[in-house]
């Protein structure tokens, strides 16, 4: 079992003929994902790793019945691609690009809300469901394993580190979701936790957060009120000074908001097990599951 993405999910790749799009089309296929079509305007009729390419999402969906799309187009064209996908029936949308203007993202997630689309990202590594043998994203294929742990992370490489340590500790994953490092993103801790709540295969959840915003505090409120499974949280940015963006557009302690202290306190009070270093996650999960 898994959340959002299963082996049945038919996927299209927007921007499939670009370097990144083509590379990850191959990686997704190698992992077992049902990549049924690529979309690249003006490239209709070509193939990418034997996947047919169409000029429009409309054609790709009509030909393949796909309901999910992963977007690799450059940031200035991302809103166009996202709306094209959603207006043509896509209901799971993974937005890989970074540097999408925040107000474009606001438009995307607002429309997604109207249409009932789950948006992952932007500026995300994507989503992977190891037990289902499928993924939509740019994460390395070899570090995951099927198992009972759900993972939701704001950061890519850090989540790889933690997922790999879970795998090495014999703790496989139902689904790993990358929220994305931008200030405004579609799926957030709360919405992903709600999905994990509904998934019987998920027995514990790891949250990988960081400074900036208050998504962790909001998640803590939800956990306290309604989340019934064990949660281990690790948050990055303990040593970060205020006023400086730590790489992610969302990772900034601004005007006193978004500090690690308030996040860790909220999560601890909500009953989550908060660890201070990434290498402590796997052991904490193991303890809670045994």
């Amino acid at each position: 079992m898994a959340i959002l993405l299963t082996r049945e999910t038919k996927i299209i790749v927007q921007g499939a003929t670009g370097n990144q799009g083509a590379f990850h089309t191959r990686q997704m296929l190698a992992y077992g994902a049902q990549v049924t079509a690529g979309v690249s305007p003006g490239k209709g009729g070509q193939t990418v790793h034997n996947v047919p390419v169409f000029d429009t999402v409309r054609d790709a969906v009509a030909q393949t019945g796909a309901s999910a799309s992963i977007v690799f187009v450059p940031a200035p064209f991302a809103k166009d691609a996202a709306l094209e996908a959603m207006e043509n029936g896509i209901r799971l949308l993974v937005m890989i690009p970074e540097h999408i203007p925040v107000q474009d993202t606001v438009e995307i997630v607002t429309r997604a809300e109207d249409l009932g689309v789950s948006v992952i990202g932007p500026n995300t590594f994507g989503i992977i469901s190891p037990g289902e043998g499928t993924k939509m994203g740019i994460m390395p294929n070899h570090i995951y394993a099927p198992g009972p742990v759900g993972v939701v992370a704001r950061s890519g490489t850090l989540s790889y580190e933690i997922a790999f340590s879970l795998t090495n500790a014999g703790l496989g994953q139902t689904t790993v979701v990358g929220m994305g490092g931008d200030p405004v993103v579609g799926q957030t801790f709360i919405s992903v936790l709600k999905h994990f709540q509904e998934d019987p295969a998920t027995q514990a959840v790891v949250m990988v957060g960081e400074i900036g915003g208050s998504a962790e505090e909001e998640a803590a409120e939800y956990i306290k009120a309604a989340f019934a499974k064990p949660v281990v949280a690790y948050l990055a940015g303990r040593a970060a000074p205020p006023g400086k963006r730590m790489g992610h557009a969302g990772a900034i302690i601004e005007r006193g908001r978004g500090t690690l202290e308030s996040k860790e306190q909220a999560l601890t009070q909500a009953g989550a097990r908060v660890v201070t270093m990434p290498w402590e996650v796997a052991e904490a999960v193991g303890t809670m599951l045994s």
Binding site: A75, P76, E98, H99, I100, P101, V102, Q103, D104, T105, V106, E107, V109, T110, D114, F125, I138, M139, P140, I143, A153, S155, G156, T157, L158, S159, Y160, E161, F164, G181, P183, V184, T188, V208, E210, I211, G213, S214, A215, E218, A236, G237, R238, A239, A240, P241, K244, R245, M246, G247, H248, A249, G250, A251, R255, G256, T276, M277, P278, W279
Partner: protein
């Protein structure tokens, strides 16, 4: 991308929000001419640091002669590490009241947020929560005059002020949208002679949206070193320690900084070498770390998209050119790990596979830690 006050003011004026008479001043003669035109004025240093006034960045001139002298003193001065190159001469106002209003994006609600208060003139963080009126904007509707009227009512404004405030909010939201602003703030929004005037303003433009705002001149607020690394296209923040750090991915880089501190070390920087950076930029970044003359360099790589062999090649390239005259600790794991480790070992550099012992070793080598 923060904008100078005068740029923010001009943007306000362009959408029809009243601002005090003002002139951009780049020479002492400019300053004299400006005061001749607009009368007694404040000369305000155009730098992007807080507390500008207390640091001597705002002075007053009653006459053109005084303006010339004051400007001559201010232009070129060092203000909290920034060289003053531009002043903004602005007519003095007889202020009756100070309000606050801003538009920003609420990342939790994922919609624009208008905040307003009648307790303006100080940083909004210092205003009591109950004195702040908040209104989330539904992007499906935008901000129409009625929203401004409701906000004006919430603030207790009446008559002319209520009308002007409602109108101003609509225009401020237009500016927020048309400029891809992260923040547009008028503080204080002053009442002068019964009318609203934007006495000071902030405008931060979304860096990611600069491609559609070619008119915006890039301003890198960073230190010299930060600007150098930003120019390579990498995220870099200077910290005050002595263990230089490189990692791939923002989260990993943050966690690496945390790990160094965890073991008692003092991180010198945050450097995200990118989620899939190639040999060139990685080597360039490493060059910068070497140039910082840290006690130790710690490279922490989890190879996902980043290939460990590429990182190894970058390290060896820099080693050949600079010799890397400080202790180097490398943690290398993931994609093409075997090739990368082999490359390093051929040059007698050993690599850790776990993050914790590697970070601990880096701290030891720096002579720090517990």
């Amino acid at each position: 991308m923060k904008q100078y006050e005068y740029v923010a003011k001009q943007a306000l004026a362009a959408v029809g929000i009243p601002i005090p008479a003002g002139r951009v001043v780049r020479t002492a003669d400019d300053a004299a001419a400006a005061v001749r035109e607009i009368g007694p004025a404040a000369l305000k240093a155009q730098v992007l640091v807080g507390g500008r006034g207390k640091a001597g960045g705002i002075r007053f001139a009653q006459s053109p002669e005084e303006a010339r002298a004051v400007a001559a003193a201010m232009l070129g001065m060092d203000l909290k590490g920034y060289r003053v190159q531009t002043l903004y001469a602005e007519a003095k106002l007889a202020i009756d009241q100070e309000l606050y209003v801003s538009v920003t994006t609420d990342r939790n609600r994922k919609v624009p947020l208008i905040m307003a208060s009648t307790a303006g003139g100080v940083e909004i963080e210092e205003v009591a929560d109950e004195s702040i009126v908040r209104r989330h904007v539904d992007p499906r509707v935008g901000v129409l005059p009625y929203a401004g009227r409701e906000l004006a009512a919430d603030l207790g404004l009446e008559g002319t002020l209520a009308r002007e405030f409602a109108d101003l909010v609509v225009k401020l939201y237009q500016l927020y949208q048309s400029h891809d602003a992260e923040l547009v703030e008028i503080n204080p929004l002053t009442v002068v002679g019964g009318h609203l005037v934007a006495a000071d303003a902030r405008l931060n433009i979304d860096d990611s949206a600069l491609f559609r705002h070619r008119e915006v001149e890039p301003i890198d607020e960073g230190s010299v070193l930060e600007q150098k690394v930003h120019a390579i296209g990498l995220a870099y923040v200077e910290l005050d320690g002595d263990i230089a750090i490189m990692a791939n991915g923002a989260g990993m880089a943050m966690a690496t900084v945390d790990a160094i501190q965890h073991f008692g070390g003092r991180p010198a920087n945050f450097l995200d070498a990118g989620g899939g950076a190639s040999v060139g930029p990685t080597a360039q970044a490493l060059d910068v770390l070497v140039s910082m003359k840290p006690k130790v360099i710690f490279i922490n790589i989890f190879g996902g998209i980043t290939r460990c062999d590429d990182v190894a090649r970058a390290i060896l390239q820099v080693k050949r050119t600079t010799g890397i005259p400080v202790p180097l600790v490398v943690r290398l794991v993931g994609t093409n790990e075997r090739e990368g480790v082999a490359l390093l070992e051929a040059e007698a550099i050993s690599a850790y596979s776990e993050m914790a012992p590697a970070a601990e070793r880096a701290v030891q080598l720096a002579g720090e830690g517990r």
